[in-house]
Structure formats: structure tokens, C-alpha cells
Symmetry: C2
Subunit: 355 residues, 2 copies
DNA sequence: TTGAAAGCGCTAACAA
DNA sequence: TTGTTAGCGCTTTCAA
């Protein structure tokens, strides 16, 4: 049972293939009567145009690809670390593609300097996707951007606000989200608030630090650089930074971690040290990953509207060049208050004897 | 900068396009000297054959698709419930495809009777994938199987051991895994072991129940049907079943839940009732989802080698028809012992005062 | 071992 | 408003 072709439909409807093609492409210059008959024939034959044929003959491939860091993605998938960043991007992108008759493809690209360009180029020329979705850290890779621009492939960068020519930018509100998180701690009454930084290779790390400083400044709190520690988004780096913090002369009463994983690390280090969250130290994360809902205490964290942003990204990518460019809706981060934050104790004592 | 075509390469290498084509397709009947020159030209021009052209002209599309239940997948992705079943399948399939120059596509198919056939057929005729990967519950859907067989698309069913003509079957060891889990409880000394069933629409539910009975029989323990409760894989159903169990005349000292989510529900209901796991009641789950590692206590559970099975599935799908069919490697489930299981208390008392 | 020519199923000018 | 005719970049007979 071979699939029907456009010729079969044309014959069945008694029109030329061009008329069928017009209807498939929503060309409005077709008589209603013919449209009906073609649509009926399409239905009767279960006809669907072949993607490869359309792609080969025409200027669109009906494919949108996301280029993601291979090593990172493999690690995440394999470790089951409950970070659902990618799942949410996939969801938004897939649904939007489906709506428009497009297909969404997740392409793993090795991000070492030797491979990236080759692999990205391979995908580009093999698939000629109509658009590419870039997430951190790919979205800041100069090689990647150069390649995309050279091949004239539309792309959307889903990332922090670094300026880059070419491509569409959908800005994750990292700075704002971090500021909201820290503001929350300030409002609870904390004055000694630490910050654990993310991987410096990600633009978001810097942006989140900026948000931290912004909220502190707003509250008139002096920035204490001994409370700002480096990290790399991983659980272990959260543990290490927190241990360092606790060993200091005047430990903080609250910690803002630039990722949920690090926040979970903080929680673990705290508990290891005999301290309780939020009674002794409040902790805020960032991402609202699944892990944040499974931890004890459940993590107060910042959620970015990734699903919606990925939808919007795809929408931009596949809109007809003629369409009027709608302004990007404002995507704002949302603070999810759970159980890991509370007012500081009247006089912060460091003790194991809580409870 | 348009991509090079096969003509460009042929010209650059001073041969016909057919020779280039032969080399791309690993046809061995090409003189070494020509091969070298063509390969060099390919390199110089960064040539990659167009997928659409190959697919249109030839008999392969270089695409493998997985057909998954749309509603289920969307729910999982959106809820961030930390079930990484799909991520692991995706990982195995994607990596294997990448190795072979194929592309892996996740297709969401609505599984209500009205849509399934239409949507699946649409994907099939639009993409003509070289193979389709089926997971539960799609892998047992007669409409789906009929369609795949009619369209002569090779497919692999990644599921329980129900017999179906056509297609390749890669069996998840649900029965064996469940038996191992229950055996573990038996070895710890439990004799009153409850079982919470999965969604009856899934073949795996029945298989896991069979494993439960098998282990009980082995140990010479009488099956007490009041200890077997229905469920549907969800957290809430785990809660409900456990409450029912605790309200019974002689509650169990151990619970085998057919999914981690239900096991997590059990844990929650137990704690709600003032009981502790594993001191008062042991709990075993199934799946080794991310949530199992984040719960407190961490869940003892059964892990299926999904990544490896998905790899193997793709390997089968894309192997040349001529290739000798290698026997399926034996995929066995693995018991991951964590903190939610322990020997029963000498004399099981039901009390809230533990601690 | 290689090449020439036909055609896969569509879209895109250009006519009518 | 519709149809005709070329290709798109490959694979596939069939010859050479």
C-alpha cells in the first residue's frame, strides 16, 4: 500500500497538480468548488505531501532543529538528575511545531572546538532546517553563530541578554529572576545573604549575579564579597561553596544559589553540618527543576517560562518572512515559594541542637 | 554560501556523480584511487548529501521515529514529575541514530481512537521513516500495529511480552524485575507483602503482578488477595491504595508498588499515618526514576536497561535487510537497593511514636 | 569498475 | 483562476 502522490489527488479531483499544490500551501487564489473537490480527494486517498519532496523542490524543509550541547545533554539524560530544562524546551517547541505541521528535531552537537563547527555544518546541510533553536551555552558560541549566519539559517537564541548581531533573541530574565529571589530573602528579614555563582561560561551566571547585587543595593545592604562564592551549577559545587560559607567568620543566614542543583547541594551541606533549613539558614534555588519539588525541605526557587519561550521561539522561526514581526511578549520569571525559606532566627545561633 | 551538491564534488574530483554516490553508500566496487580523490573533494567542499534528496530518490529516509502517546508525554514533560523513562529511551535512540548518520524524531500521537490512526498515518506518509520505535501503551495498540504492518514500516515494540505478529519485539523484563523486587522483601524476612498494581491498560502491569506472584510462590507464601490493590501508576493511586492497606485488619509489613510514583505515594501515605519507612513498612518501587533518588528515604527500586534497549531497537531498525539477525542480548532488570527497605520489626506494631 | 539517463514527488516561474 | 514545464539533488536501472 504505497502512499498516494499529488498526481493521484489531481486525477481523483480532476484538476492539475498545481491546483493541488496551491491548496496544500494555502494559496488563496483557488476557486472554492475546486478546493472542496481537492480536499475531498485528499481525504479519500489519505494523502499527505512527502516532506522530502517538498523540501527538495521548495524553499522550506518543515523542520526546526534545536542544537544542544551533546555532552551536557547526555549527562543529564543519563544521570536522571531531575533537571527538566530540556524537557520543557522540547515540550514547547514540539507542540508549536506540531501545530504548524513542522517537525522538531533535537540535535546533539559536540561543543569542543574541533567538532562543533563540523557537526553543526553537517546537520545544516543534510537537513537544511527552516530554523534553529539555540540554548545556553551554544547560544553564546561565536563559531555557532558565525555558521548560522553564513548559512542564512534563521535562529533564535534562548538565553541571557548578551548582544549579538543576527538571529532573534528571546531573553531569559535571569537578572530579574535572581533579583526577585534575593528580594524575597530581604523581605523575610535577612541581611547576610550569600550568593553561589553558576558556571562562568554561561551568560546566565553573570546575569544572576547582577540580579543579586541589584536586590542588595535596593535594600541598602552592603555587598560583602566574602559571601559571593564561585560554583558551576552542579550539586557538588553547591556543597563545597556552602561548606566554605559555614567555615567563615560570620556565616550568612540565607543563601541564593544560581541553580537548584547547587541549592540542593547547599541543603545537603547544611544538614551535614547539623544545621536546618529554613530554621537556621534559608536557601533559594533557580530553575524550578523537578528535584526542587522532591527535596526536603522543598525548595523555594525561580521558575522561568521555558515552555512558553520555546513555543514563541518556534513561532518566530517558522513565520512567513512577510508576516509582521510581533513584539516579543514579556517573559518574566516567577518566584515559587516553598519550604526552604523563612525569616532568620531572632539572633542567629549556630547550633546542631535544633529540635 | 549554498551547500555543495554531488555535482560539485564529482567535478572537483574529476569523476561522475555516480562514483560519488557509490562512495557515499559504501559501495565497495570503487577503485581506491578514485575513492581517495572523492573523499578529499568532499572534505574540501564540506559536502554532505541532502537528506531530502536521498530520501526522495532512494529507498531510505535516514529517519527513525518513536511514536509516543501525546497526552502522556505532554503531562510528563509539563509536570516535571521526574520520571525519566522517556529521556532514557531518547538517549539510547538518539545516540545510536547519530552513530549511523540517522536522525531520531519523537512524534507525539494522540491515542484516542479517532486520532491515532490519522496522526500515525500522517507521519508515516510525510516522513516515511525507515523504522518506528513503539513504547507502552502504543506498542500494544492494534490500530497502530495494523497501520505499521500495512505500510511495511519496520517497527520495534519496546514493551511487555505480549505476542504480536510482525515487527520486532524487545521485551522489558517486567515479570522478572517484579519477582526480583519481591524476592528481596522475602529475603529480608517479610511475609505479608502487598502489591499495588499499575494501570491495567498496560501490559507491564499484568506482568509485574505475575512476578509478584511468582516470588511469593517460590517462597511458599500464600497469596492473600486482600493485599493486592489496584492502581494506575500515579502518585495519588499509591496514596489511596496504601491508605486502604493500612485500614485493613492485618496491614502488610512491606509494599511492592508497580511504579516509583506509586511507591512515592505509599511513602507519603505512610508518613501521613505516622508510620516510618523502612522501620515500620518497607516499600519497593519500579522504574528507578529520578524521583526515587530524591525521596526520603531513597527508594529501593527496579531499573530496566532502557538506554541499552532503545539503542538495540534502533540498531535493529536500521540494519541492512541482508544483515544476519543477531540474537537479542538478554536485557535483565536490576534491583537497586536503597533506604526504603529493611527487615520487618520483630513484632510489627503499628504506632506513631517511632522516634 | 564506471557512466548516462530517467525519475522520485514536489514547488516555482511563466504562460494561458 | 488555472495549467505547463523545468528542475531540486539524489538513487537506480541499464549499458558500457
Amino acid at each position: 500500500m504505497k502512499s498516494a502522490t499529488i498526481y493521484d489527488v489531481a486525477r481523483e479531483a480532476g484538476v492539475s497538480i498545481k491546483t493541488v499544490s496551491r491548496i496544500l500551501n494555502h494559496d488563496m487564489t483557488v476557486k472554492a468548488a475546486n478546493r472542496e473537490r481537492v480536499l475531498a480527494a485528499v481525504d479519500r486517498l489519505n494523502y499527505r505531501p512527502s516532506l522530502s519532496a517538498r523540501s527538495l523542490a521548495g524553499s522550506r524543509s518543515f523542520v526546526v532543529a534545536a542544537f544542544v550541547d551533546a555532552q551536557l545533554t547526555i549527562d543529564h539524560w543519563r544521570s536522571g538528575r531531575a533537571t527538566d530544562y530540556l524537557a520543557r524546551v522540547q515540550l514547547g517547541a514540539t507542540l508549536e511545531c506540531r501545530k504548524a505541521g513542522y517537525h522538531f528535531l533535537l540535535e546533539l552537537i559536540d561543543h569542543d572546538r574541533a567538532s562543533l563547527k563540523r557537526e553543526a555544518r553537517d546537520v545544516l546541510s543534510a537537513l537544511s532546517p527552516d530554523g534553529v533553536l539555540l540554548t545556553p551555552p551554544s547560544c553564546d558560541d561565536p563559531d555557532m553563530l558565525e555558521l548560522l549566519i553564513a548559512s542564512r539559517t534563521p535562529f533564535v537564541r534562548l538565553g541571557s541578554e548578551s548582544e549579538v548581531e543576527g538571529g532573534i533573541q528571546l531573553t531569559l530574565d535571569d537578572r530579574g529572576g535572581a533579583a526577585t529571589a534575593v528580594r524575597h530573602l530581604v523581605e523575610l528579614g535577612h541581611t547576610r545573604i550569600a550568593c553561589i555563582l553558576g558556571d562562568p561560561r554561561y551568560g546566565s551566571s553573570e546575569a544572576r549575579l547582577a540580579g543579586y547585587h541589584e536586590a542588595l543595593a535596593e535594600a541598602g545592604l552592603a555587598a560583602d564579597e566574602s559571601l559571593v562564592l564561585s560554583g558551576d551549577f552542579t550539586f557538588q559545587s553547591g556543597v563545597t561553596a556552602t561548606e566554605r560559607l559555614l567555615a567563615g567568620a560570620r556565616p550568612p543566614t540565607a543563601i541564593f544559589a544560581s541553580s537548584d542543583e547547587m541549592a540542593l547541594g547547599s541543603l545537603s551541606a547544611l544538614s551535614q553540618a547539623g544545621l536546618r533549613a529554613p530554621e537556621d539558614v534559608s536557601v533559594v534555588g533557580f530553575d524550578d527543576s523537578a528535584g526542587a519539588r522532591f527535596s526536603r525541605p522543598q525548595l523555594t526557587t525561580v521558575r522561568q517560562p521555558l515552555i512558553e519561550m520555546a513555543s514563541e521561539a518556534v513561532r518566530r522561526l517558522i513565520q512567513k518572512p512577510g508576516a509582521d514581526p510581533v513584539a516579543a511578549p514579556a517573559f518574566t520569571s516567577e518566584l515559587i515559594v516553598r519550604d526552604s525559606t523563612a525569616p532568620p532566627k531572632p539572633r542567629a545561633r549556630r547550633a546542631a541542637g535544633a529540635g
